[in-house]
């Protein structure tokens, strides 16, 4: 790990420990490709675990995180970069890790990030999607859903759940109260009847 830190220092990058197994290094978009390549070839991080994307709508950029693992699987290094939301594009790394192809494809579909040089940037899970990519935060899911898939209307004999629950709860409370009262009355009655018995028992 110290070795890695020193190597990254040569590239003027800083490795930050987030948790006991989790490290993070932030990098600029221009440096990203060469850094990932050196992670793969020089530092021995041969597994690309995932590529994640976070939409920082307020700051106007996407934060992309590449999670990398060594064969030991004892820690994760996150290589993080941020790109502009407008015309977002990243170099494709499917030549480094083949599994990146499908991850990038998904990211392209869900966030609209472009990957120049990617061989199969076609539909992944959705088909013929022509709206804003659905996981962007400016995509109003609720609005879209209400437009496309309106709720089923009520039945004529349908009951309002809130009212009914309130009624039910009150009825329950009342029943409970009644039961308590009855129990108390019963106990009282018993204490009135029993003293003689107690006395007998003592005897």
């Amino acid at each position: 790990m110290i070795e890695l830190i020193s190597k990254l220092e040569k590239l003027s990058l800083e490795l930050v420990q987030k948790q006991d197994y989790l490290y993070k290094v932030e990098v600029k978009k221009e440096q990203l490709e060469s850094l990932l390549l050196s992670f793969l070839n020089e530092f021995g991080y041969i597994t690309l675990d995932s590529i994640n994307c976070r939409d920082d709508l307020e700051e106007g950029n996407f934060v992309i995180t590449y999670c990398l693992l060594t064969p030991k699987r004892d820690h994760v290094v996150m290589v993080q970069t941020s790109i502009e939301r407008e015309n977002a594009s990243l170099p494709s790394i499917h030549t480094f890790w083949p599994q990146a192809e499908i991850m990038e494809r998904e990211m392209h579909e869900m966030f609209g990030v472009d990957f120049p040089g990617h061989p199969t940037l076609i539909d992944f899970a959705l088909e013929y999607w022509d709206n804003i990519p659905p996981l962007r935060r400016d995509f109003d899911t609720l609005q879209y859903v209400n437009d496309m898939n309106p709720f089923r209307g009520q039945r004529d004999d349908a009951l309002d759940a809130k009212v009914e629950m309130k009624k039910k709860r009150e009825a329950k409370k009342a029943a409970k109260l009644k039961a308590e009262q009855e129990a108390a009355a019963k106990a009282e009655l018993e204490t009135q009847n029993n003293p003689s018995q107690e006395v007998q028992n003592e005897e």
Partner: protein, 212 residues
């Protein structure tokens, strides 16, 4: 049973589908009645495992609950099937395949849905990619509710369907034929103009001038 609902759906009134609640007798002659009886005794199922309900079907058809004793048998292809079981939520992508599979089935044909999702979206009510009301797009004959319904409930659904077939009640496929405009319009609304050629109802798409 469930009411057919078209609330919140901005369609022309003329296109609104009038789905009868239940049983106008549709069989008249003795032959038709006999055929209806045989149809009710033998139902070939293509089990379309959408969503989580797919896991309920193996116990339904195997030793524990054994739907075969009612004449309900699984088949592999829609061409041979009478019944399609849709066992859970339907994404748009799945819906496209389901419509195609349904239209490839030979008449008479029926649909059973399992679970809440095909009725009202269930827990996927706010998904950007899942339909909420299946009966807007395809004529559902029997909805078995529950999340998920147990095999007992599924078998109850089968016997309900059998009873309806035996009585000669108007089935979903007849409604589909009569109200094709309604169904096609709804399908188009969620699937866009990219409706795959289904061949069964291609003439419809051509008449409306959309690209096939």
């Amino acid at each position: 049973m469930m009411e057919s609902g078209f609330h919140g759906c901005d369609l022309d009134d003329s296109l609104k589908c009038k789905l009868e609640e239940s049983g106008t007798q549709n069989t008249h002659s003795v032959m038709e009645k006999a055929a209806a009886w045989f149809r009710s005794r033998s139902i070939f199922v293509v089990a379309y495992g959408t969503g989580c309900g797919a896991i309920e079907m193996p116990p339904t058809f195997t030793s524990r609950y054994d739907a075969e004793r009612m004449g309900v048998v699984g088949v592999a292809t829609p061409r041979q099937a009478d019944l399609i079981i849709l066992s859970g939520y339907l994404a748009y992508k799945t819906l496209r395949r389901v419509i195609r599979t349904y239209e490839q089935m030979q008449k008479p044909k029926y649909i059973i849905t399992l679970g809440s999702c095909p009725i009202n979206g269930g827990m996927y009510w706010d998904s950007y990619n899942t339909i909420k009301k299946l009966d807007d797009y395809l004529p559902v004959d029997v909805s078995v509710v529950g999340c998920m319904p147990r095999p007992e409930a599924v078998i109850d659904g089968f016997s309900l369907l059998q009873k309806r077939i035996k009585n000669g009640e108007k089935a979903g496929w007849e409604k589909y034929d009569e109200n094709l405009d309604f169904y096609k319009k709804n399908q188009k609304r969620v699937l866009g103009n990219h409706v795959d050629p289904s061949y069964e109802t291609d003439w419809y798409n051509l008449e409306n001038g959309s690209e096939v």
